[in-house]
């Protein structure tokens, strides 16, 4: 298929800076509990991430400036699902987040991606919600986690947008997002947490897929979200949480042979239920038709 190539090739990354209102969004309190987030630390960590993407991995980085009005806009992964030359602008669950998409839409249009909207409130997709952090694209197919933030209708829109691919829905348990418990660790590798909920989701994924993936199980949830990128020089990069944040899982990453491991801290964002991949949108502008 025109759009089908092994997972991991990216040329661009789109990120959005951490605003000073970081952690102040409604609902954050709930996710946050007592813990308070440190803005400066979050910004530092954000800087490290973008630095790694740009300098280590070699992606072109597009940074959308932070907007204090949009305290969650740094979770840019949620607002778009991009595959090939198509970007689906999603409809996040939270009403107040829906204006985050404007800047993103602008950027992806500039990158000459085909922009697909999920549509207005009314109409066919009324009630559809979808967030990018519930979408796992494996290079061969999509898995959409049906979670508190993403519903079946939202998944349908995604399926309608990316017609080449099988789009399977899987349950996500415990109020988390699909990408909190799993991520791609290579063209055919899924990194997944060892929790019971994650295992259940994984079983469903295995049931639904026509393909076979290698599975790298990590003992901690926080470790399950990584960013895998095959760099321009065919180097496998894996951005993962550092040992301080997931002490038991680092050894699992060592099993990935010939990888360049880039420990990247993300402790502040993770306090808000986000993780490494939440902070960036990855795009491949080099399509290869065959």
């Amino acid at each position: 298929m025109a759009n089908m190539c092994p997972y991991g090739r990216f040329t661009h990354a789109v990120v959005r800076g951490i605003p000073e209102t970081f952690g102040k969004a409604a609902g954050d309190v709930r996710e946050n509990g007592e813990t308070s987030v440190e803005l400066a630390k979050a910004q530092r960590q954000f800087g490290c991430l973008t630095g790694a993407l740009r300098q280590k991995v070699g992606l072109q980085l597009i940074e959308i400036p932070p907007d204090p009005e949009l305290p969650e806009s740094w979770r840019i992964e949620d607002v778009a699902v991009i595959q090939g030359d198509t970007a689906l602008i999603t409809r996040p669950f939270k009403q107040q987040r829906r204006s985050e998409m404007e800047a993103v839409r602008r950027v992806v249009s500039e990158l000459r991606l085909t922009v697909v909207e999920m549509g207005a409130e009314e109409g066919d997709t009324g009630g559809a919600t979808l967030e990018g952090s519930d979408v796992l694209f494996t290079g061969r197919e999509f898995f959409v986690g049906i979670s508190s933030h993403t519903n079946h209708r939202g998944a349908e829109v995604l399926a309608d947008t990316f017609r080449d691919f099988a789009v399977s829905t899987v349950p996500v348990c415990g109020g988390v997002r699909l990408r909190n418990i799993c991520s791609m660790g290579g063209p055919d590798t899924i990194i997944i947490s060892n929790s019971d909920g994650a295992k259940k989701t994984l079983r469903m994924m295995e049931q639904l897929t026509d393909h076979h993936y290698e599975v790298l199980t990590v003992p901690e949830d926080s470790a399950a979200n990584c960013i895998y990128i095959k760099g321009p020089s065919k180097v496998d990069f894996l951005l993962h949480r550092p040992a301080e944040e997931c002490p038991d899982s680092v050894s699992a990453f060592q099993k990935l042979q010939d990888y360049t491991l880039l420990p990247t801290a993300c402790s502040e964002a993770s306090k808000l239920g986000a993780s490494l991949s939440s902070l960036c949108l990855l795009i491949n502008r080099k399509h290869t038709h065959f």
């Binding site: 298929m1 959409v144 349908e156 080449d164 829905t169 049931q207 290698e214 065959f290």
Partner: protein, 987 residues
């Protein structure tokens, strides 16, 4: 359009409806090299419903036009018989290119007749992927059953049909002919344009551009004009933007041939998630609207566009329907205890039946080696319907035999979407070519249930299959030119060659139990004798077919770069001896099944490889499928066959320690038997040879070889060739010089076995000891009735052999660890030998037929399945019949890492009762930090009564499973020897 016409064919005139009246494919293949005759007059292009009178007229026409073809002449004669006037019906078939094809068939003709006529008209040989549809009263598309009469399938309405792709090959690059791909492309274009095959804008663009290239050739604004593109349709909603993008891409394809463009088209299309998915509306148990999609891999459940569940064929135990309900029974999952049945509601009974039929057919086509013979087993309810055509495995096998040069055909611009009128809708046919070697080209494959050889293969489609397939494609390119390289042989390749008798059939039963069998592997198991025979006889022409064959099998999970293209040399006595690459210790497994009373070998392997993908997703339990290759050795036949083949194949099967181990045992037996035969005929000489060879082998294998070569100059060849890790051994035995040939066989065997011997662990040798001894004892018992002295000698000899082997084995216990560090293992997968001595000719004219079946490691894993049967006929009275069944699951690590680990411990426990001997063998190895326990259990049952091996096997497996619930069965070998009455053997 251009036609290469045969000597006897007239220049063809373009005409709308070209009638090709021929017999079945068989007749065609039998190759009257006549080209289709064109009708001098055109039939009315769009004849409506014809009146009887007119029909007769048409018949006469036909009769005149094409008189010498059997079916036609029958047609033309029949009305003259008067009594039963055969009504001729005019069928209108919507072809894939959008044209209508009008054809006359007898009213009572079966679907197959129409189908064959259409395929002949299209000049299509790989026809099993296609089928005929007709609309029922609800305007639903139904597939015609080729085995039923047309008129019974069209109750009402006009005789209008559609010619369509029925089974979408998962990897179209494995199709043999461009013409087949072309028709597949046409179907897919229609699927795309109609929206049945949804795709993204980008994919529409790409597919469209290849369509344009294939139909119109290179971009040429002067010739094509600027608007050429809007004449064609690429998408359900075609936009200007799409057309522009298509044109943009089209410009970049300069120089691409139509066939190439179609390959690209298919490479893209096959990856679409809805490729080849046949959707049926249904409701789930809660009344929610869903879609059931039937495809090559199983059953998919969609809600809207979302896939909400999937049941791969191996997970489905049973499919049934009742009224408007459709049920699937699901194998219990890893954590479940019971099987479950899921029901769906279809709109009506007909829909339920239709879905059920499609499931049955897809399952049979894609999953089985050969169609099931009894509908009872898997489909218990209602209909006796079953798929009677060839399976994908069979069709691949058959198409690998296509030896005609690529037919010329016109890619008519697709009329359906194109405003311009094409000159001639009829593709050009070249029927003067020999079509297929497979004379049984017609859909119905004969099935026979009884016989001596039962082959069964279970292989599992693994994660890598797709990859492997791609790999395949890649390898194809490289291999094609080197197809005839004498040495190399890919791991994956396996061949079954049978030369004797016309009666080799394959039967597959026990359907749903198997795990997915990669077609590649299956293919080899179904072999039509005459095909093989021919392919062997026609030396020169063999190459193309085999090349194709090689392609098919080339998908290696291991992808060892060392492996070279396979070589088959049909007629020459040539042994290719393999040598391991430096530092590697090959395990060659020769698995000729010796005469064993009835042995069940059940092997368990704890699958503890954490990274084993298949393990993580595939069903673990034992997976069994049964295929029976029936090979009845009849004396007469045998004598007549003056060419007998012996083929042994070595398989490089890294990671397949299990097989090796289990086969190693049989190795020895095999050797024994061969030797025995040799003994019979060659007498002292042979004995000496054998003895010498055996003695020396363990210590100095080279010497043994030298010995052998002394005896047989031909064997020198072997040595000189012995470079590659892959081996193809073929020997042709001719009746006139039985001795020599036997020797050859002998040598081959010895050679084949020497390294396994080396590789054998001491424990193995122990097992072998006991096994073989008991076997041979049994043998003696059995054969004693046949008072011949020779016979006894044989037995004794065999016994000696055993001893020799024992000592040998004990000499080299260390070898196991050697082999465990090996990354390559060479195994001869199977060998079948039968020797017969005509009692009338005591001085020993004999035919020795050796058959080797090798099971290639499939794309998924090094799995071998071998079935070997030895029909030994001794002098006058007693026949022994040997039956071997190997069941094997492909649960082998797919990583290609052949670190066999370090042997931790091995123990052998033997227990005996009066009629059974059970040897349990437990080995523990450590590889890569993971310990693996293998248990090999060998049960020898002796007795006068018939042993129901199925039952005994089931029992053995069951027991074993109970004893070791945490282990999985990877291989089951059933070996059965019975006495048969002499008459059976002699006629």
């Amino acid at each position: 359009m251009t036609t290469e016409s045969g000597a006897d064919s007239e220049a063809k005139q373009p005409q709308e409806n070209k009638e090709t009246e021929k017999g079945k494919a068989k007749a065609a293949a039998a190759a009257e090299p006549t080209s289709p005759q064109n009708q001098p007059e055109q039939l009315p292009a769009a004849a409506g419903h014809s009146t009887p009178a007119r029909k007769e007229e048409q018949e006469h026409q036909e009769g005149d036009q094409v008189s010498h073809r059997s079916s036609t002449s029958r047609l033309s004669r029949s009305p003259l018989k008067g009594v039963k006037k055969t009504k001729i019906m005019e069928c209108k078939v919507a072809m894939l290119d959008g044209s209508d094809f009008t054809i006359n068939v007898e009213k009572r003709a079966k679907g197959q007749v129409l189908f064959d006529k259409i395929c002949d008209h299209l000049n299509l040989l790989e026809r099993d992927y296609f089928g005929i549809t007709c609309r029922d009263v609800e305007n639903q598309k139904n597939w015609l059953d080729p085995s039923k009469e047309l008129k019974k399938q069209i109750r009402t309405g006009p005789w209008t049909f559609g010619f369509n792709v029925k089974f979408y090959p998962p990897d179209p690059s494995q199709l043999t002919e461009d013409i087949t791909r072309y028709y597949l492309c046409l179907q897919l274009r229609d699927d795309v344009v109609s929206g049945r095959l949804p795709c993204s804008f980008a994919t529409h663009t790409v597919l469209g551009s290849y369509t344009v290239q294939s139909e119109l050739g290179d971009y040429d604004p002067e010739e094509l004009g600027s608007d050429y593109i809007s004449e064609l349709r690429f998408a359900p909603n075609q936009t200007k933007e799409l057309e522009e993008k298509v044109m943009e891409l089209h410009k970049t394809y300069k120089g691409m041939t139509p066939a190439e463009a179609e390959i690209h088209f298919l490479e893209n299309a096959k990856k679409l998630s809805m490729y080849g998915v046949d959707l049926h509306h249904a409701k789930d148990s809660e009344g929610v609207e869903i879609m059931l999609g039937v495809c090559s891999s199983g059953l998919l459940i969609y809600r809207d566009r979302l896939r909400i569940n999937r049941f791969a064929w191996p997970k489905i135990l049973k499919i049934s329907y009742k009224r408007n309900n459709f049920y699937i029974k699901i194998r219990p999952g890893e954590f479940e205890q019971f099987e479950s049945t899921i029901g769906f509601k279809l709109p009506n009974h007909r829909a339920a039946k239709r879905l059920w039929k499609v499931c049955v057919e897809h399952h049979t086509f894609f999953r089985l080696i050969s169609p099931e013979s009894q509908p009872k087993k898997f489909l218990s309810l209602g209909s006796k319907f079953r798929y009677s055509g060839r399976t994908q495995a069979q069709t691949r096998r058959a198409s690998s035999m296509i030896i005609r040069p690529a037919p010329l055909f016109e890619r008519s611009t697709s009329k359906r979407y194109n405003m311009s009128v094409s000159l001639d809708g009829a593709p050009i046919m070249e029927n003067h070519e020999t079509l297929m070697k497979d004379s049984a080209a017609d859909g119905a494959t004969k099935i026979s249930t009884t016989g001596d050889i039962i082959t069964m293969v279970t292989t599992e489609k693994k994660a890598e299959e797709e990859k492997a397939e791609q790999e395949d494609a890649r390898m194809d390119e490289t291999q094609e030119p080197t197809g005839t390289t004498p040495l190399g042989r890919d791991t994956k390749y396996s061949f079954i060659r049978r030369v004797k008798g016309e009666n080799v059939f394959i039967k597959h039963s026990n359907l749903m139990l198997e795990d997915i069998s990669p077609p590649e592997d299956m293919v080899k198991h179904q072999t039509n004798i005459s095909e093989l025979k021919r392919s062997f006889l026609e030396t020169g022409e063999n190459a193309p077919g085999l090349t194709e064959w090689e392609k098919r099998l080339s998908s290696s999970p291991v992808r060892s770069p060392r492996e070279e293209a396979p070589m088959i040399e049909p007629l020459e006595l040539q042994d290719t001896k393999d040598e391991q690459p430096a530092g590697e210790d090959p395990l060659e497994e020769v698995e000729p099944k010796a005469t064993e009373a009835a042995g069940y070998l059940v092997k368990y392997v704890v699958d503890s490889i954490a990274t084993d993908l298949a393990t993580s997703s595939g069903p673990h339990g034992i997976s069994l499928s049964t295929t029976m290759d029936d090979d009845v050795f009849m004396d007469g036949t045998r004598r007549e066959v003056d060419e007998v083949l012996e083929r042994s194949e070595m398989k490089v099967s890294p990671g397949a320690v299990r097989q090796e181990v289990s086969q190693a045992i049989s190795d020895k037996k095999g050797t024994l038997i061969i030797l025995k035969e040799a003994d019979d005929k060659v007498d002292a000489e042979g004995k000496e040879t054998r003895a010498a060879g055996d003695e020396e082998e363990p210590v100095v294998p080279e010497e043994a070889k030298a010995e052998e070569s002394e005896m047989l100059s031909a064997s020198k060849e072997k040595e000189s060739i012995s470079e590659d890790a892959s081996v193809v051994v073929e020997a042709k035995t001719k009746m006139q010089s039985p001795k020599t040939e036997i020797k050859t066989d002998d040598m081959t065997q010895i050679k084949g076995t020497d390294s396994p011997k080396k590789a054998m662990a001491s424990w193995l040798s122990e097992v072998v000891k006991s096994e073989v001894i008991s076997e041979s004892t049994k043998e003696v018992k059995q054969t004693k009735a046949s008072d011949a002295l020779q016979q006894e000698e044989e037995e004794i000899f065999t016994f000696e052999e055993v001893q020799t082997e024992q000592s040998k084995s004990s000499l080299s216990p260390i070898t196991v660890s050697e082999s465990s560090t090996t990354s390559l293992a060479v195994s001869t997968l199977g060998c079948v030998s039968s020797s017969e001595k005509g009692s009338a000719e005591p001085e020993g004219k004999m035919g020795v037929a050796m058959e080797t079946k090798a099971a290639p490691a499939e794309s998924t894993g090094p799995t071998g399945l071998d079935v070997v049967a030895v029909g030994t006929k001794e002098v006058p009275v007693v026949h022994t019949e040997t039956k071997t069944i190997t069941y094997e699951s492909a649960e082998v690590d797919t990583n290609g890492d052949v670190d066999h680990g370090v042997l931790l411990s091995a123990q052998t426990i033997t227990s005996e009762t009066t009629s059974t001997t059970t040897t349990t063998h437990i080995t523990k190895t450590v590889k890569g930090g993971i310990s693996e326990t293998r248990i090999e259990k060998r049960i020898v049952i002796t007795g006068d009564t018939d042993i129901d091996h199925d039952q005994a096997l089931a029992q053995a497996i069951k027991e074993a499973k109970e004893q070791h619930p945490d282990m999985s069965v990877t291989k089951v070998v059933v070996h059965k020897e019975t006495e048969i009455t002499p008459e059976e053997g002699e006629d």
